[in-house]
């Protein structure tokens, strides 16, 4: 817990340095309605003429109170602009995590069981390609194949951009409960839009997951191989347990420990890839907002996005640590 607070303070120091020392600090707090006459009041309110330590303390207390600056391009406070786009990013990254769990871990297990046979070689190649593929390019190629070429061939094709079909949504309005269209349509029983938003999710979440997929696959494989050599696995087999029970009940839980350790790394990969994937797929998330902000020179929004991403990663790592303790009772905090 101490480390968590420490890291968050460190992150705010970096962002404070970037936004207030390297750039004009005033730009962070100007709104579109600010008049020339109001500027001295802003400088006084945010202590912009004071020494750095005081300015940092003021900056930090403003962050805690929810004043993250004003986004000129969105014409609203940074925090409210980001929080509107937050659910879309969560939906995308959660779906990517599902891909990793559903494909990455089973593929890792299979390639450990078929060590040095064809499935193992295929998974090795996929893993190597995964870490070398530009995620934005993969997104474009997926659109080209599964949207454009499939449509040309008259095959059922997947949508290429957006979070759901907005024209279809006029007929079947999507209620906002959680902000995640897939979940909202499921709750309200809006099956047409549920199917539509699920279809919109397939390509972007796969593109985003692809990089981390390979890492998880390889780690699961190598730790599974390690565990399968242990004495208690030989014992389980000699007791005559079916292979399925040996692998899923006895081996898997122990093999997951190293996998969970690198999960933090995989989540960092997902959060880092989000701006690229969201831009390519026109996904209305925070990442795309930040990328649009680059073009419009809207620094407060970029800094806010960086801060919130760091926050999410720190929390994700906390969850990983807790999971770690659950999987391996020898670890106590």
């Amino acid at each position: 817990m101490f480390l968590l607070v420490f890291v968050l303070i460190g992150v705010t120091i970096i962002i404070f340095f970037l936004s207030q020392v390297l750039m004009d600090p005033l730009a962070l707090y100007l709104t579109d309605k600010t008049t020339q006459a109001a500027i001295p009041a802003i400088i006084a309110h945010y202590h912009l003429n004071d020494p750095w330590p005081i300015r940092y303390a003021v900056y930090l207390s403003n962050l805690v109170r929810g004043d993250w600056g004003f986004s000129q391009s969105e014409s609203e406070p940074v925090l409210s602009a980001l929080s509107q786009r937050f659910p879309a990013t969560i939906e995308l990254t959660t779906a990517s995590i599902l891909w990793i769990l559903v494909i990455g871990i089973p593929a890792g297990i299979i390639s450990a069981l078929k060590n040095n046979k064809a499935p193992d070689h295929i998974s090795r190649l996929v893993a190597l390609t995964g870490v070398s593929t530009p995620v934005f390019w993969l997104g474009l190629i997926l659109q080209l194949v599964f949207f454009y070429y499939f449509a040309q061939l008259g095959l059922p094709h997947l949508p290429s951009s957006g979070i759901y079909d907005t024209t279809l949504a006029l007929e079947y309005p999507v209620a906002t409960i959680t902000g995640l269209p897939v979940l909202d349509t499921l709750i309200t029983g809006n099956w047409v839009m549920f199917e539509d938003s699920l279809a919109h999710l397939v390509l972007p979440s796969f593109a985003l997951a692809f990089v981390s997929l390979g890492i998880i696959m390889r780690i699961t494989r190598s730790s599974m191989l390690e565990v399968l050599r242990q004495d208690y696995i030989i014992l389980a087999r000699s007791k005559g347990l079916p292979e399925r029970v040996v692998i899923y009940r006895h081996a898997l839980k122990n093999a997951m420990i190293p996998t969970v350790t690198v999960a933090g790394l995989a989540i960092a990969g997902l959060l880092g890839g989000a701006p690229l994937t969201e831009t390519v797929f026109g996904w209305p998330g925070m990442g795309r907002l930040a990328v649009d902000a680059i073009g419009r020179n809207d620094a407060p929004l970029i800094m806010g996005f960086t801060l919130i991403t760091a926050l999410m990663l720190v929390l994700a790592n906390l969850v990983v640590d807790i999971l770690y303790g659950y999987l391996d009772p020898r670890i106590k905090y």
Binding site: L3, F6, V7, G10, V11, I13, I14, I15, L18, S19, L22, M23, L128, T129, V131, S132, T133, P134, V135, F136, W137, L138, L140, I141, Q143, L144, Y148, A268, G269, L271, G272, G273, P275, L276, T279, V280, A290, V291, I294, G295, A299, I302, M303, F305, T306, T309, A310, L313, V314, N317
Partner: protein, 289 residues
Amino acid sequence: MKRSNWSPAISELKFAGHLIVRNKLVLVGTVIAVAVLMTATFSTLLVSPAVIVTIDLPNRLQPPSITHWLGTDDYGRDLFAMIILSTRLDVIAMLEIVGAGVTIGVTLGAFSGFLGGKLDEALMRVTDIFFSIPGLILALAVAAALGPGLNNLILAIIVVQWPGYTRILRGQVLAEKQRLYVDALRALGIGKVRVILRHIIPNTIYPVIVQCTLDLGGVILTFASLSFLGFGGSPLTPDLGRLITAGQLYIFQAPWLTAFPGLAILIISLAFNLMGDGIRDVLDPRLRR
């Protein structure tokens, strides 16, 4: 006794060669990586840089053919030539970033580990903070703060790169400074700075070299990604990420403009990743089986 006539350096080199050739994937990767480096070095001899400013509108968006191997872009420029010229910029950027990152990281890591104390503690906490922000996002924020331009983009990625090397080298130095020869050198009256630069760093740098070859492939991806998002040079200094930004406008009309530059990034990154794996096998004795 005849063995002692053998020069150990040569047999070591032979053994390294054997380790690289033994693994076919590593061999292919190394060959491609060397070819990429050669292409980058001699790109201006292979292709005239004048291609960048030659506009040929009647021949715009031509599909791949005998005259234009990979087709032409929206200005009628030959895509193959553009990719070759872009590769040069990407490779130079990659080497600059990793080179600067290693220099900064090694220097800080060596002094931090050797001197210890409060400086060491403070520096390690700083690296903790850097690790808690996804690399690409931090580079994006730094690049945004520094403003547009190729040099600022390179600087931004260097800022993200150095902490990894610092951590690795510091760990090595902590173990190395306990060795007897370090005490001997100090007893001889040799200064700390000289011990660090002349003795500690040369003895501890191998893991960093391994790590930086493994990083080359990732750095080129980061560079291409940020350049795709609009950071980096002008249209007159093309790089692979920027080619895709330009090409994606014609994704359905001229898919080759997106497909080939991306494929080039993929191949370069994959080749350096494979070569990094090979170099790790050579330099890391624990993996020599």
